[in-house]
Subunit: 153 residues, 3 copies
């Protein structure tokens, strides 16, 4: 069994941002020299996620808006009454008592999951026609790491 590991570092300009990394993951598979196996793509931070979906800007804007409704931030006013009601009692997250302001980003990590496993067949990521891999940042503006671990033969 062969294995190969790469780390990527992101420092997004926006607090929340999707970064397409499909080609980076394929490059790690190429570097591994593996024909059959799996590539684990996993955020190393607790306020980020990895998602496989369509590279269509409308979907990404919809998803970011929807994540804000389901897991509303408290570092800006809630966008509507429903979002307001969903905030924990006291109007702010317990996590913020220590000075943090990213309580919602932990819940977005929960919603979106921090990792995917991509199958490798004949040396290529075995993805469907519209599947692209995205690093999803929910608390950007500083260095965040991601690991790509490729295993196979």
């Amino acid at each position: 069994m062969k294995s190969h590991t790469e780390y990527m570092t992101f420092e997004t300009a926006e607090r929340r941002e999707f970064v397409r990394i499909t080609d980076d993951v394929q490059a790690a598979v190429d570097a591994a020299g593996i024909d059959e196996g799996m590539a684990l793509v996993s955020a190393m931070h607790i306020t980020a996620a990895v998602w496989i979906n369509d590279d269509e800007p409308g979907i990404q804007a919809d998803a970011l808006e929807w994540l804000d409704k389901v897991a509303p931030p408290s570092w800006k006013p809630p966008s509507n009454d429903v979002a307001g009601e969903l905030l924990p009692e006291g109007g702010d997250y317990r996590h913020h008592r220590g000075g943090e302001d990213n309580g919602d980003a932990h819940l977005k990590n929960l919603l979106m999951h921090h990792q995917v496993i991509v199958p490798i067949t004949a040396g290529r990521l075995d993805l469907g026609p519209w599947q692209a891999i995205f690093y999803c940042e929910f608390d950007g503006g500083r260095d965040k790491r991601l690991i790509i671990k490729v295993l196979g033969d």
Copy 2:
């Protein structure tokens, strides 16, 4: 290390439907001739999911109704005021501007995740007593694919 790959194609009659595939995944493990390893079960489309849960019809009906509340469709009227409030401004998803009508299905994919990894021990899927594997369709009526990739020894 041995590997084995199978593809399944689904064309569900319903737009949203759960299809039990536990036996298909076990058959792939049998074909692989693997005693110890993992089976990756991954939807190759961005409006579907894979879920491991109980094969109890009430749970599935509850889950479909709940998914519609949390990630409401816009191709039918919202089922209540809360669902209506959760819709993006303008009453419809940005993704629909290009003629699509499955914006909610992308969010359901996000909520439910598109893949699971099943451990294999002594040649069998090492699942708990009530764990069954389901392909979860959120935009059916046309061919959709899923990959089963088995790795091990």
Copy 3:
């Protein structure tokens, strides 16, 4: 390729509880004698989850409260009007018709996902600085199992 399997059993005092298991997973990697590979950590029950996040009590309390808002229980009164509206029609889950009272726990399993895969590099779990692994119980008070399957070389 080497493999190693361990099972853990939990019987939490609380119905909902997070149990940190990072050291248990590392111990399984040590027992496996693997330098490069992956550790699958997967709940064997359908009303539990595995989450990687910060070991900060505020985050865990926030997450439990938020899970109750998004996937409200029906075995106690809803905590507010929004939670009440989100309940299935009839005020209770279909799953409860057979005498069960854990319908919400199945949805929390869906939200949080029942498994993670942890990369192993140089014999250590290759986690970020704040990443800890938690078993997440949503229907405790009785024996529940989890599998750790380590694969690699």
